[in-house]
Symmetry: C2
């Protein structure tokens, strides 16, 4: 029987899956992200994880393989295959593998990911998405990935979520950005206004709308979210395309709305299942 | 002899011009912007300014006429003429006039200005710019104004400068944004990259470029400035146009470079002379 522990180890959170013959038999999630682990403390942390299941083999992905994590596992250059991820995995001790990230650097534009690649290549390997497809992982730093023949051909990261948080906390318009963000009328207006291709002007317009009483109170946060997500979507999606969304329910609904408004369609993919599919394939390849 | 004091009274600074028969005979600049004046303290502040010159008549423009200033002088709706500014000036006591701001609200897009309108209409009234022209006042909130028949027909405010400051102070890429901002190679690369119409992706690219060692250290601040100013310019300027720039030397040089890169040309206008021309015309119209 094949049995191993797969860990998606991010900056602030960590999720572990015990996988037996390709099926998840136990899952744990905690806040022991890499920032919660003392420098020099990763050996003990990993040993503790493995000890829960009789020193089971373990495959680690995500920020644990960065220069702020345990061991810098480097990057595989795009176009990247799941075989390349497995081949370049760092194996510091017997029974432990750390998956590298993926980089791209063409025509002066560089980009990096670490952790998302396992979901992306896992979704393709498991047939959850077509071999040639566009995938989107919304978040603080939203990833757009173009798969070709099942490989991660290219990608771009947009600072959509981070910019929203920055504006709300620190901008002059932050004080106007009240109310919940939801897939509502104001959000749709923001997505539509993104079509004016004047983000810097539209953002100041939030302040002006408040001064002039043009906007219903408590709707500006949703409007700004629509403006940013609309800008993100318009930069990366063409009409008629299908976007495979790996997102939680709330953020997924916002991106699905914005993608629909540019004339493209969406399909939701279970990001946990995609991760498990990817890491299971990597574990098989490690031999 | 016509003699009056013109005050450009902003949020943090204040500039006063003693004007005799249309010529400036004395100028003072201090940091007594509206935030430095206690609520209820504007009467005394204005009296003190006038007393320096034997209780000369005074015309106030800028944030002093906002709801955070002395008296809210409201807004004249665009298209706005200099005659309309004079006609709607608020005159709380004999010898004192406060110039209103200008607003626009068409097709759901609102915008406001307060203070800039005197420069813009003054430049047109004095023949410093053609009656039909595009003017730009770069800054924390950059104003783009379209003049028609000498009137302020329409305008838009872009939060270009504010966003640069926010990113530098608070974003993940803020730590990368070192070095001086100048009209250099990195600035030009930023303006060029703005042409990819993917500001959110290009901003994260600053982080990726640092991780991958793709950018010379100490050039990212200039690059991000180019990205933002390039985005601002591309949204508002068409190739072949002439943009009349009312800016200080450093910011003017950056905008001139970016405007040149989109195939448009620039002419520099003295913003102080434009203000004095505008306020002098308003004072004449006050009668």
């Amino acid at each position: 029987m094949s049995r191993f522990l797969a860990v998606d180890w991010g900056t602030t959170n960590r999720r572990a899956y015990l996988v037996e013959d390709g099926a998840v038999v136990a899952t744990t999630r905690d806040d022991r992200g890499i920032l919660a682990v003392e420098p020099g403390g990763f050996d003990a942390e990993v040993a503790s994880l493995r000890a829960r299941y009789s020193d089971v083999p373990i495959v680690l992905a995500g920020m644990v393989g960065s220069n702020r994590g345990w061991i810098d596992a480097g990057y595989v250059a795009a176009p990247a295959t799941i075989d390349a991820l497995a081949a370049k995995a760092v194996r510091p001790i017997d029974g432990v593998a750390i998956v590298p990230g993926v980089s791209r650097s063409v025509a002066g534009r560089g980009d990096v990911m670490r952790g998302e690649e396992v979901q992306l290549l896992g979704a393709a390997a498991a047939g959850m998405v077509p071999p040639d497809s566009l995938l989107c992982q919304p978040g603080t730093h939203c990833k757009w990935a173009w798969m070709k023949d099942g490989a991660l051909a290219d990608f771009v990261t947009a600072m959509t979520g981070e910019l929203f948080a920055l504006l709300k906390a620190h901008a002059l318009i932050g004080q106007e950005m009240t109310g919940a963000v939801a897939d509502d009328t104001a959000f749709g207006e923001g997505v539509a206004d993104a079509g004016r291709d004047d983000l810097l002007g539209a953002l100041f317009g939030v302040r002006a709308a408040s001064v002039l009483g043009l906007r219903v109170a408590g709707t500006a946060a949703s409007y700004v979210s629509g403006l940013l997500i609309g800008t993100d979507v318009r930069a990366h999606v063409r009409p008629g395309e299908t976007v495979y969304l790996l997102a939680d329910e709330a953020l997924g609904a916002l991106y699905a709305r914005a993608i629909g408004m540019v004339g493209a369609s969406t399909q939701r993919i279970d990001s946990h299942a995609a991760f498990v599919a990817g890491v299971t394939r990597i574990e098989e390849l490690l031999g």
